[in-house]
Symmetry: none
Subunit: 208 residues, 4 copies
DNA sequence: GATGAATGAGCGTTCATTCAT
DNA sequence: CATGAATGAACGCTCATTCAT
């Protein structure tokens, strides 16, 4: 196709070239937007392709099928999220400071990246998420282990309650995800003070 | 069959006891199972009909369309759940005891009724649930207000943290729902002791 | 069923009885209304039954199936219509006067009975009507032959154009049906003067 | 295939000449046939697709839904019909000659294109047609105004009866459509002589 | 006889996926 | 490689007809 107008996926007169991974990126971005806004079935492949300025068939060059796209998108998000959260993380700080830091950064990240958050929620609350988590629990997948390590150390130092990790995770992240959702849905507006108080309360839940 | 009113038992000539709307009940049961297990789009009407041993058109005698079925099923579940939780609830007990009672009962209910729990989760994490909750926040719908009242009293008595209700709810129920899910998915097995410790930890999150 | 409120199809306290043909009548009336207003597929059997205050299955006591109902309703209408038109018809009047009388009465009938007219139109413009007319042309059915006789006499007396009957019918009734439709749809409002002029013009079309 | 615009012919590499939207054409043809023969509900989308040798979903590439297909098909037919009728039309001829020309051409067109005729009848005798005509009467749509102008001039020259346009249309086209239908249904066989006599008779109906 | 709950084939429509160009 | 027209299985839903009561 020559003289295509939509998109930049051609050798234009100016010599701008959209590389292979540019297209993948566009697909991922479009899928994120549409799925976050409308859910998995509110985001047909054709619509994703259109939003990405890409042919419908092109998506299948980068992702074997829609399920794969959904899973890879999830992993893209995780990979994008962890570095942000871990920036300025001080592994040598006390447990409490480290938890407050991580929780605050995570909550901030969700608030500042609502599309990411809503996608993650869609994913977790779906067969994809259950399967994904099951794989993780069974050790088939590696995730971000900074929380796990923090909690394990916290338990052994008797700073945290002596509960199974799964429950500590629930106590720490359950509220965090809930308030992030409520903020994004507009049921509450979180400012820095409220974020801080929320994370402190989460800490109260897990600390001895 | 004379003067039968929806829900009344009816004795047929053969002596078989049949509830009016045997079929409705079957549909509700089948829909609950399939949606809890597979989500809303994993539960086509035809499949619900098959599981209910009912013709596809029969569902539409009892529910105007799939959305209505989903919403009425949700309300059925709520109506079934609240009395169980509120049984033996003592409104004159101290805040702490009342919270522990309610939290424990709720968690137990979810564990004993995993289909109900997973359905409620599917519902809440969907446009249905968001709309439903928005209506509730705007006062358009009445719900079970026992938690709201408990928290409001707790705040005014300075027993609970002085945080917006929405955040207290998140701190109390976020972990609760998370552990219920983990239990139901088999990531952990909650015994009475663990239930009790979890609810205590939730209390730590909200209390002053 | 006892103490039924809807309809009078029971032995009421006052001893009013709805006879068998009463029900048939109600079904016919309901079907006429609904089909005239909404067309054949805008009139489901269940809706006809409801409008007739009759059980859905009851219709099948009087009519083998929907097609039969439609055809019998058509014949009911014809039988109801002809006597009205033929009232005060003078078989000994001149051709012209007789035609003007019949045409005027027919047009008036349609205007005064728009439901009948719309039903007849629905019927004629459908496979039912085509089959019905084919049977009539092949002599399988008897219809109202007053027009046929009038036209045959008119031709033989050289008062009417020497054209096939089918064409004379078209010239006489084509415009008549068209203006009736336009009146009923509100595209024009016919008063007595306009009716008279229209029928005169039809006469001009067929007379020598 | 480069720069093809809807309707342009395109030569493929193999030298086969293909019209853009071969499939659209096939769908239109199949829909015309089936609807003309069986009416709108006798022509399910799946049957149209099958007759067009096309997947069921393909129809929806070209037509948003069945209603749109029906309406566009109608407009296709009108656009196809008017040029044929207006060929050799002499706007400077006397009213009578012009009417006879148009009427004859129209009747001939219907006889030679029975599918078109039956489709137009189905359309006009349906909610589509009523809505369409209402729009036209209210000036929302432009149609072929040659008849309207002819009649208006004819009235002002006192060549035609001084009747509302709607009635003149009925007098002129009512018989025409009726004989076309009778011919197509096989109730009569129109030759050139009969066509001519019929149109003359229509003229008698409208002329002073 | 009369009922109306139950049925299931059939409808219009969507969308993940393929493949000729 | 990239495309997007084409596909057809599957969806939610309707309704003529049946039959146990």
């Amino acid at each position: 196709m020559r003289f295509a107008i939509k998109g930049m996926n051609v050798h234009s007169a100016k010599g701008v070239v959209m590389t292979k991974s540019d297209k993948r990126e566009e697909v991922v971005r479009a899928a994120l937007e549409l799925i976050a806004e409308n859910g998995f079935h509110g985001a047909p492949m054709a619509m994703i392709a259109e939003r990405a300025n890409v042919g419908a068939g092109t998506i299948y060059r980068y992702f074997e099928n829609k399920d794969v796209l959904i899973n890879e998108l999830y992993q893209d998000l995780e990979e994008r999220m962890y570095p942000v959260i871990l920036e300025r993380y001080e592994p040598d700080n006390p447990i409490r400071e480290r938890f407050l830091h991580l929780g605050t950064e995570l909550l901030r990240y969700f608030i500042e990246n609502p599309l990411d958050f809503r996608y993650l929620e869609q994913f977790h609350n779906s067969p994809f998420g259950v399967a994904f988590r099951r794989d993780k629990m069974l050790g088939k997948k590696e995730g971000c282990n900074v929380f796990r390590e923090l909690f394990e150390v916290g338990i052994s130092l008797q700073v945290l309650k002596d509960l199974p990790l799964v429950i500590l995770f629930a106590l720490a992240f359950g509220p965090l995800l809930a308030v992030a959702r409520d903020h994004i849905l507009g049921f509450i507006t979180l400012d820095e003070d409220m974020i801080s108080k929320t994370i402190e309360a989460c800490w109260d839940g897990i600390r001895r």
